[in-house]
Symmetry: C2
Subunit: 205 residues, 2 copies
């Protein structure tokens, strides 16, 4: 793992990376081609072994690559990467000649561990995924079910608390830094919500 | 529609209620019984006609009711309802005698329009859903696909902007009120993120 702050997350806790509904970037690779797209429509499906759902339209270049390779990675971007997310979310990799979206937009990657897919640097979470083939779901609903085979996160914003629980945390001494590392939630047209303030229920129950 | 601020949302825009990944409450009803549960695992699946996915565990009472009736409603709660969400999310309606979770927790409802399911007052969005039967997905993955047949939102926080676009907006003159109406995203153990600050990409592209 390239990045200093990147730490391995136990597979049984990987769903917590997606539980709060962030917008993600899907990276893919097959036969020397690679691509990256934005996907707001993702959700955990099971805990252990962890499974996730992502919706990938038939028109996308990513769809071709992931159906051919059977693998993809989920990259969880943060506020600091907003322009990158917008650019990769509003262009297609299919029509690019002699280049790809990574080179075009100056996106740096590091290799995945269990699958042959590039992971985007600067993100705050990553899940390596193997597709569980479900042709009816894929054809009818553009719905992909996958098993998570490795997961990492930026330990500055996702780690174990004093009770041993893994979770996101975007508050601390250098709040300006944390605000840039907040995950994002797509609204529409390049507008995003940052993941906001923490509220704790149960104290007054 | 009971609540003054509740407005109808065109079905083709209903996905925008869930696009940013909020935690929801699922309400259900069958043969004189009704229930409500929390569900972080939900996601839009299609635009028009709108479809959504929700993951409902086999052990839940909600599962019995929605498989019997073929319908359920998604209620999108807000920060002001945090304790309600926590209570309905940490108890089962199955074991209650001569009462239900609504009566037990003092939850007020109003009737749905297209289906026979109670909707929770005080929420900021509602989607009435009819299950599209997919036995393999339901049995294997606890995965329910449904068509959205009606949608509403609290116009104070979800409405059309000057460009005619429907979206969530949690900022305004009375910020204290808006902060209480923010949607929520479950982390774990009764801890939630509020939907946070807006960031706009594309201006510097």
């Amino acid at each position: 793992m390239e990045k200093t702050y990147t730490r391995n997350i136990p597979l049984a806790k990987a769903y917590r990376l997606l539980n709060h509904g962030p917008t993600i970037l899907v990276t893919s690779s097959h036969a020397g081609k690679q691509n990256i797209m934005a996907a707001a429509w993702n959700v955990p499906l099971d805990f252990d072994p962890p499974k996730i759902i992502v919706v990938i339209d038939k028109k996308t270049y990513t769809r071709e690559l992931i159906e051919a390779s059977g693998t993809f990675a989920i990259n969880i971007p943060c506020v600091a990467q907003l322009e990158q997310v917008y650019k990769v979310g509003t262009s297609s990799g299919r029509d690019l000649k002699d280049t790809d979206k990574f080179a075009l937009h100056g996106l740096e990657t590091f290799p995945a561990r269990e699958i042959d897919v590039p992971l985007l640097k600067g993100c705050v979470g990553w899940l390596e995924c193997r597709i569980i083939p479900e042709p009816h779901n894929q054809d009818t609903y553009d719905l992909f079910i996958a098993e998570v085979v490795a997961a990492y996160a930026d330990e500055r914003v996702f780690s174990q608390d004093d009770n041993g629980q893994y979770h996101w945390h975007f508050e601390g001494y250098d709040q300006e830094m944390y605000d840039k590392l907040r995950t994002i939630h797509h609204v529409a047209g390049g507008s995003f919500f940052a993941t906001g303030e923490v509220h704790q229920a149960g104290h007054t129950a």
